[in-house]
Assembly symmetry: C2
Homo-oligomer: 215 residues x 2
Amino acid sequence: MKIAVLGTGEVGRRLASAFVANGHQVTLGSRTADNTNAAQWAAEQGGSHGTFAQAAADAELVVNATAGLVSLDVLTAAGAENLDGKVVVDVSNPLDFSAGFPPKVLQKDGLSVAEQIQRAFPGVRVVKTLNTMNNIVMVEPSLVPGHHNVFVSGDDADAKTVVTDLLQEFGWSSAQIIDLGELSTAGGTELVLPLWVQLYGKLDGKPFNFAVVTA
Amino acid sequence: MKIAVLGTGEVGRRLASAFVANGHQVTLGSRTADNTNAAQWAAEQGGSHGTFAQAAADAELVVNATAGLVSLDVLTAAGAENLDGKVVVDVSNPLDFSAGFPPKVLQKDGLSVAEQIQRAFPGVRVVKTLNTMNNIVMVEPSLVPGHHNVFVSGDDADAKTVVTDLLQEFGWSSAQIIDLGELSTAGGTELVLPLWVQLYGKLDGKPFNFAVVTA
């Protein structure tokens, strides 16, 4: 599949590399065409790079791996005409570091980033997932042993199937994938981040994940 | 130990009964001395009941099991003079149902209920715990099989030890109890509730809990 990953940070490059490894044709999108991180990633991993708009235009599926508070700007730069009809996988969190550490979750109008994207770009099919864990665990869940989970939220069943297939390529079993329901459930997963940040500090950066354990 | 449980709802009665079963002398506190729930609970379970102030006055340890948005009012009714120097275990969540279901977490000034209590009553030692699960799991963790966790936040190490001992009486093993650190970490546990509410609906009320799984 032709995949655009928007965002050249650690999360974006991690996901982009994993998609390449799974046989996809990946373009890493950044604000400018000459982004050094993106060029280096493309040279090393065998992908392409370009502006947000170039990456989105070529892609069948678009991943938002930018910081949540700038995601709407990034997708605006990508262009509605380059996004329409496509699945947008949102892995972002709207973390606000303006008052220092630890960050707060800042949900404008009480909406998750995923819902803000869906509202601003009604022609896309947004699926929220993978935003509740270390980026290394996103693409290699077996790093954390035993039972643990990834959440999926979205209004379009077909889009969720496409995303679930990509998760399974990363190694997520169907038993590990929890479909929370419609996109409005995405906000709850973003709000887990303050606890996640505390645990990340406590565990000294060691990979971990949340599990939902039932009776 | 003499324990006051403030709040006669399902959570308060569940905790109060479990404390009685573990040999503690428990008073269930409510707004008025003639609360029917409290009187019935006391008659059936072998505890006492009274106003918030009466319950707190007699107790060595006070549990806040009221709705988070009214907790400060309840503790004010209990009276600073009846709380000073005591451990206050806060199991509440500030859920705001004013816009219907699902509720939002409403943290005034960005502070958890636990921090608001600590700020309003500097003479008490607040410990936040148990607010991330079904009330039946709080007092009987073995209902959920395998590995799952309870979080503890607080600024006073001795108070956390007292609370950890009570958790262990409920059946929580030391491996299941995660000390997140100071009381400022309590906010992150409250913000898990929106996800918890979605999972509760999805699982049709079946008991469950979160686990932190590490590599």
